[in-house]
Subunit: 239 residues, 4 copies
Amino acid sequence: MAKLDDLLEDLVTANRVLASQGIVDSFGHVSIRHPGNPMRYFLSRARAPERVEIGDIMEFTLEGDPVDAKGRRPYLERFIHGAAYEMRPDVMSVIHNHSPGVIPFGITGRTMRPVMHMCATIGHEVPIWDQHTKFGDTNLLVESMAMGRDLAKKLGKGRTALMRGHGAVVVGPDLRATVYTAVYLELNAKLQMQAEAMSKKVKFLTKGETKLVAATTTPANVNRAWENWCRKADRPYKE
Amino acid sequence: MAKLDDLLEDLVTANRVLASQGIVDSFGHVSIRHPGNPMRYFLSRARAPERVEIGDIMEFTLEGDPVDAKGRRPYLERFIHGAAYEMRPDVMSVIHNHSPGVIPFGITGRTMRPVMHMCATIGHEVPIWDQHTKFGDTNLLVESMAMGRDLAKKLGKGRTALMRGHGAVVVGPDLRATVYTAVYLELNAKLQMQAEAMSKKVKFLTKGETKLVAATTTPANVNRAWENWCRKADRPYKE
Amino acid sequence: MAKLDDLLEDLVTANRVLASQGIVDSFGHVSIRHPGNPMRYFLSRARAPERVEIGDIMEFTLEGDPVDAKGRRPYLERFIHGAAYEMRPDVMSVIHNHSPGVIPFGITGRTMRPVMHMCATIGHEVPIWDQHTKFGDTNLLVESMAMGRDLAKKLGKGRTALMRGHGAVVVGPDLRATVYTAVYLELNAKLQMQAEAMSKKVKFLTKGETKLVAATTTPANVNRAWENWCRKADRPYKE
Amino acid sequence: MAKLDDLLEDLVTANRVLASQGIVDSFGHVSIRHPGNPMRYFLSRARAPERVEIGDIMEFTLEGDPVDAKGRRPYLERFIHGAAYEMRPDVMSVIHNHSPGVIPFGITGRTMRPVMHMCATIGHEVPIWDQHTKFGDTNLLVESMAMGRDLAKKLGKGRTALMRGHGAVVVGPDLRATVYTAVYLELNAKLQMQAEAMSKKVKFLTKGETKLVAATTTPANVNRAWENWCRKADRPYKE
């Protein structure tokens, strides 16, 4: 099980990296699909990402039932993860955060688009999901598979979706690429806001550029950032 | 008196957390009502919150008289606390700060509203108190019970009020929930400013959403942040 | 000479505090008038404020001649200090910085006014000095008493003046009050920029409020911040 | 070869300083031309600047071929450096970064100009290069000498050029002056954005001022910042 142990340590690291990079504050969470069983995923118990340790990692069914809770309380919003894994066989990692930069986009309906090459993996256009549309007044938590599935529908085939008045969900083909996308989603929000304040004519990445850059965003590139983020978060780095 | 000792340590922690989270700078203060005597509250002597230690905590009557000063100088503005406790039997903690994000709202008369779920406990609308209205030109300090009561009237039944050209007052049913509200009031200010710069049409939380989220903001949720903030402020965490 | 030694240590501390508070970067400087001889002032040799040590402090005549250089190179712009001391017998400390927040005000001609009580000591209105007016194209350094005197004239009887495309000069009746004003000048710039972006109608402090707050800004108040800043800059605090 | 060793240590330091100053994140790179052979330059292997160590420094021909790779992978975009050295015999150092502040300028076509004296070395006007103009849809990486030469053409005789949707290139007569320009390019972007939001009439440095300031930006001045940056990046300082 050496490989699974490494993945779970990487998951702990991802929690710390997201916190250290300001992509999550005390809230938000990151999961990985079980590499050997597509019907399971790993996610910490309900704890601030900066505090997550290996003993906090729990295993869940896609429906959100803990496999061996040991008295640990799960995140109320684990259904964001389960529904994404259910709908998207290509997705191996899911992040939910309250990335501050994206909030103004979600609540004004402004579409996020990549402003620079580092941000291409957010996709050509970032959709916005509003829980109120289907569910009316709620406490804005994705507390059920029904809500999770509605969000996953809005995510579609892309890697990011905003959640109005709440935050974002980010998915990817592996953990590190997903963390990378989450970090650059936040930067994109900040820079797009600045550019659109300066001018009505903003050159976003073309569809062609977005595709080509995403294809060039290899594990080697992602690892250059991952190594740096590990050390800043005081976590060991394995290539 | 074990329980009171724990509360007083939590109060020291709250001082450090507010400083570490940037909600107070060298100025600002946080108090708790005496759990055994509603006519008393605890507040540090006049010192930067980041420096407050257990020996700085003083006990006051609601009118602002120290119970056992031991030569320690109190905050000139302790009347903000006393008047809030006097008017609001439900309030068990009060924070006064110069939260930078809220200043532009106070001096432009713009109403703050919750932009995301984390900020719901600020209330559906945040009132603005202007000392000049009743007291004309002053040094802008709430230096008397008369001034404190005028501010508490503006606070009404809510948890937050802005003070024009000065800062904010935040109240709550317990210390940790009040610190939480103060932290997210500052974030809300920043995000609302950004959203309103982007668009005239901003979707704030509906009245229904605000109520439902506030009801879901349980001690367990608040503790997830509290644990994280304690460790960042290098203070011990007790659940 | 114990009292002078303490003042010189406080001057070293002021350098570190200004750096730690982001009011100076690698450039900028702070001086004090000699307590026993109004025709002299103390200023570090040319070094980043964050690096200044007691052995860097040099004594100057108001004209800017070092009293005992010992091979140490002085700041080219020491004339800012000398001219302020020459023109203003009430001034006992001078700061020159490149405070980033004030630059947009200096280059757009927008008048800074106090937005909150902490900022009242900047004065009711902050004048802007443009070196080009009298001296045409220059390298924008105040490299002579002629230039320093022209700037001091613009400063007038106030405590602050902006320098177009350059930064600011801040003066005061003692070192700590001057550092305090410089810190809150920068904050005022940031908040005024935000407020004026939100609305055409901004309530600044009235003339009466500005006066009353400035009168309340006592050494005790300033020391609450000074103690905090000392510890953050890792310097010993003496009341 | 003592002098070359010192230069290579300075190059490692430059990597750390750029990271510590926020001018590069996990991406971006800095090189120096070989002091003894104008047909060679030194550049780290592909690694985050914050992690670069002396053993990472590789030597390249201007065409981008490693002289003694030892299995180390080079930056895909080393052609930015080679082409600048090829076109500009006066250039002894090159930086490529994704400086966030400049991105909005690059994607809105807004011309950067110096707003304050510290920023004069960016030049009177900063040109913008758009890879799409000559090469159509690409992955936005400067992956060939053809692309590098096209960028160097846009750079012309100046020290800075923006790269649309990507970042910037900065060159200079020596390493420290180039790092200095890169740091102040980022600051200039932030302050120009703020000023232009405040007013349509912004006083930039005149052509004459820009020239005079650049002439005054001596190694002594640059070293004041360099000493400070070294210590903040925990690197030894040699004058």
